[in-house]
Amino acid sequence: MKRVVITGAGTINALGGDVPSTLEAMREGRCGIGPLEFRDVERLSIRIGGQVKGYDAEAAFNRQQLSLYDRVTQFTLIAAREAIGQSGLEFSGELAARAGVILGNSGGGMTTLDENYRSVYEDGKNRVHPFVVPKLMNNAAASHVSMEFNLKGPSFTVSTACASSNHAMAQAFQMVHGGLAPVMVTGGSESMLCFGGVKAWEGLRVMSKDACRPFSANRNGMVQGEGAGIFVFEDYEHARARGAEIMAEVIGHAMSSDAADIVMPSKQGAARAIAGAMQDARVNPEDVGYINAHGTGTAANDKTESAAVADVFGAHADNLMMSSTKSMHGHLIGGTGAVELLACIMALRDGIIAPTIGYQEPDPECALDVVPNVAREAKVEVALSNAFAFGGLNAVLALRRFA
């Protein structure tokens, strides 16, 4: 089997417009969550989010592109440009024919859907722009990445709610690991911060009105974010032959389904995915130094996740660090695992553990080292990234420091 390494990373999210600024914000424990700004926000009871602000779409795309790209596609392309640019890869000939793109997202072009429903239902218009369908379809972002970078191999979109991008990256890993493709572009994106998007979430009564405080006893719900995280997964031999800079190695993954409840998480389902990822990566529990938690800041997730980690790791649970960066960038739903993978890369490559900010009160049901409020220096050999979706669909990735 082929070893799989990461040779490029890109992002745009509430913490920054690229990877260096995002990692800097994570190191500093900066919060990207603030008041939401969009039409009709005053009709919402939830008015905060990790929104991408000061964003100039026209600086990145021309008029013709903008008529075809929903906000989620724009974010994806911006992140893909950074990731592929960093990798130094150009796709032509045999490489282009074999390299593909697998991305996760949950809502597709939600802003496009929202704007056009408003136009026909509220404004009573009977005509919509001809590109509504190609803008809102869930695979639009993956398709535009394939077109911009000439990726002609296996390409598709994975939609498993909050685990979408982890499931997508697991698939991309398998493609490279199994020799089906020398390079895969992967990750995920989401942009649901529009009136209809937030209104739908409000209905479930799990959103916080003030802050995302994962693992803190006074946590009161999740806060949504938006943006994209894109990576270049490459066959190690291919990367080495061209002298590429390697950020980290992806060494395994596991997926599981709770088969239990459409919204409540299951300790067993989460534990099976965590243990499965370590088994697939052939690492022992004591090799794992850092876990990027799913850590949504809901009462249910955080205690279930803490219990699952305690079960899987036994005594070693007290020695490892587990933080939730959602406290800073919010929950990017289908894109969240991708942005969070950056925290794993920072832990492995730079030896800096991103904190869980907003942490105020210890919760005996979440009694792990959640790296409260302040980043920490530590040498980490193996990191895991958890994602546990609504619908009980779980995916965990395992990464190793590349030395």
Binding site: S45, L204, R205, V206, N220, G221, V263, M264
Partner: protein
């Protein structure tokens, strides 16, 4: 229909029971209503009485709306109707 009958009918429907099986002292737990059922029942109450119920599923005990029994829910609704009318 008075408030009591309407609340009982909403809760009975959520619990898939006959209204006669729901008493003012029943707790939602007794009636087999889970967290998702609770959120749906609160939505139905808001729609029926045209009120906003302050309820966050993450901290049900800290929400300013007591869901411990059918009676406490009814009292809460009466208070909210007064406050919000």
């Amino acid at each position: 229909m008075d408030i009591e009958k309407r609340v009982i009918s909403i809760i009975a429907e959520q619990a898939m029971l006959e209204p006669s099986d729901v008493t003012l002292d029943s707790s939602l737990e007794d009636l087999g209503i889970d967290s998702l059922g609770l959120v749906e029942a609160i939505f139905a109450i808001e729609e029926a009485f045209d009120i906003n119920v302050p309820f966050n599923a993450n901290e049900p005990s800290e929400s300013d709306f007591d869901i411990s029994s059918v009676r406490s829910i009814m009292d809460g609704i009466q208070r909210l109707i007064k406050e919000q009318s």
